[in-house]
């Protein structure tokens, strides 16, 4: 299996070297290549004129992928504003900056990135795992709203260093306290104060535990490629699909084992 890991430079605590060693330990026969930011890397392969055209096209596509209402699915007919396209264009030119405050449709985003993959890197034994600081979500037909996600397993698979902070719910008390702050209009104080009060109880930006946590999400991406099923129901297994920060910490940081016995056996069978 050929595994391509794409870096996300805005998160200094994300160590792709550590993740590479972890994958090597789990899948000794795999070949791993660490690359720079996905968009930067694949745009660099194009000649200058083609790159310029592609960037303009990408900027518009990304602006279209922006979720405008949490309670409404993406409207394909919405034409983005000039300023929105300009913002995306500036971001494309500076991929090392953290994007803040915009939620993108994850499936659309994944599709946009898929369009950058060259045909010779789209074989079944080639896995592209993209770390990004963009926040993305998926539309849920059941409750008819968008939900922020940490990862989307596809070709390429996307793992968000912002999603790991924003998507899994924080402890209930966090939101109660936040309500009190915001009722007083103390938005800045809320952000700083809350993080102080709940330090350690959720994964934060540039968290020291980021690499350790992300190992599990990379493993999920690989299991998705190998078996079609990335998740496990065991709350202590790296493959557990956590929806609360406490669950993330339990399955990725305080986990008594890496993989549950069933998945350990499954991986052994796949490697034999």
């Amino acid at each position: 299996m050929f595994i391509y890991l794409y870096d996300e430079a805005a998160t200094p605590t994300l160590d792709l070297g550590g993740i590479t060693n972890y994958i090597k330990d789990k899948l000794p026969s795999s070949q791993i290549e660490v690359r720079e930011n996905f968009i930067t890397f694949h745009l660099a392969r194009l000649e200058r004129r083609g790159r310029e055209e592609k960037m303009s096209h990408l900027a518009e596509e990304l602006a279209r992928a922006k979720v405008r209402k949490l309670g409404a699915p993406l409207n394909d007919l919405f034409v983005p504003l000039k300023g929105e396209i300009g913002y995306e264009r500036r971001r494309l030119e500076n991929q090392n900056k953290r994007v803040a405050g915009i939620l993108y449709d994850g499936f659309v985003l994944s599709g946009i990135l898929q369009g950058l993959l060259p045909p010779e890197e789209c074989a079944l034994n080639q896995v592209h795992i993209v770390f990004t600081n963009q926040l993305f979500g998926t539309w849920d037909e059941h409750d008819r709203r968008y939900h922020a996600r940490v990862s989307i397993y596809n070709k390429p698979s996307l793992i968000s260093t912002t999603g790991i902070v924003e998507a899994p719910a924080k402890p209930r008390e966090y939101y109660l306290l936040k309500q009190q702050y915001t009722a007083l209009g103390m938005y800045d104080a809320a952000e700083v104060g809350l993080k102080g009060n709940f330090r350690g109880r959720f994964i934060d930006y540039n968290d020291e535990r980021m690499t350790r946590v992300m190992k599990g999400y990379v493993l999920q991406a690989l299991m998705h490629q190998l078996t079609g099923e990335p998740f496990c129901t065991d709350k202590s297994c790296r493959l557990y699909n956590a929806h609360w920060q406490e669950e993330v910490i339990r399955s990725q940081v305080e986990n008594p084992y890496d993989l549950c016995p069933a998945h350990e056996r499954m991986l052994e069978a796949l490697l034999s």
Binding site: L81, K82, Y87, Y187, A189
Partner: protein, 264 residues
């Protein structure tokens, strides 16, 4: 012996009228007209006037400063996140560090210093003046604003059949806060669209407001909370740090427009 010099009432009246009219006549054609004298509008005005541009700020209230006088819950302390404290340093406003990266200043002190800085730089004001419409030129470029006295808008039409007047400018800045009055007027004419407020990820929205500050339509730059309305950015997060830095960026964008270059 009276304390004050003897002056006739008619001289007081003439002084007010002639001084105001002279200024109003002069600023009927400005380099930049800023609609809204909140923190983003004041900063933009200060920066542009400091570059020797003719800047007029139109404000519908009698007072200037928008919401910069008070913080949350009518408490007059305003908070800013780093690096916005550099703006307070520039203005000479004292502040304290509440926790790492979060600064607290007195609203009245910060707001009055900002107003004074804008005045010192040469910004002129038309307060109690409400934005009514836009002036359009060839290619639908925004080339000024149509204004009226604020009280006119508050009285019944049969009492106040008063036509507005137009003021021209090379560039207009919409710094009208959540209302985004100028952009919305453009939208009513089918020349642009606003997205309305987004409702997500409050904590991270300050950066977005600054990053989206820019020319929304030829001749019209959007700054401050009006940026949120225009682009559908989260509405609650941006506080005064974003307003100040958005104003600064708006000034840079305007300078770029006037110099015929694109500010990326």
């Amino acid at each position: 012996m009276p304390l004050f010099h003897s002056v006739a009432e008619k001289d007081v009246t003439r002084a007010i009228v002639s001084s105001f009219l002279r200024q109003f006549e002069q600023y009927a054609d400005s380099d930049v007209i800023i609609v809204g004298a909140g923190p983003s509008g004041l900063v933009a005005g200060k920066e542009l006037a400091a570059r020797r541009l003719k800047v007029l700020i139109v404000e519908r209230n009698n007072y200037l400063g928008g919401g910069f006088w008070i913080g949350g819950y009518l408490m007059n302390k305003v908070t800013l996140r780093a690096p916005a404290e550099t703006m307070l340093d520039e203005l000479g406003v004292p502040y304290e560090e509440a926790v790492e990266g979060l600064y607290v200043a007195d609203g009245p002190h910060a707001c009055s210093k900002l107003i004074a800085a804008a005045c010192d730089a040469g910004v002129k004001f038309a307060n109690m003046t409400i934005f009514d419409d836009i002036v359009l030129r060839e290619g639908n470029r925004v080339a000024g604003v149509v204004v009226n006295w604020t009280p006119i808008a508050a009285l019944p039409r049969e009492i106040t059949c008063v036509d507005p007047v137009a003021l021209e400018a090379k560039v207009v800045i919409d710094a009208t806060g959540h209302d985004a009055c100028v952009v919305r007027r453009l939208e009513e004419r089918g020349l642009t669209r606003t997205v309305g407020f987004g409702a997500m990820w409050v904590e991270m929205s300050e950066d977005l407001v600054v990053e989206h500050t820019g020319e929304v339509h030829p001749g019209l730059v959007v700054a401050g909370m009006a940026v949120s309305t225009t682009y559908g950015l989260p509405r609650m997060g941006p506080t005064f740090g974003a307003m100040l830095l958005s104003g600064k960026r708006a000034a840079e964008v305007v300078m770029g427009i006037l110099e015929g270059i694109t500010v990326a």
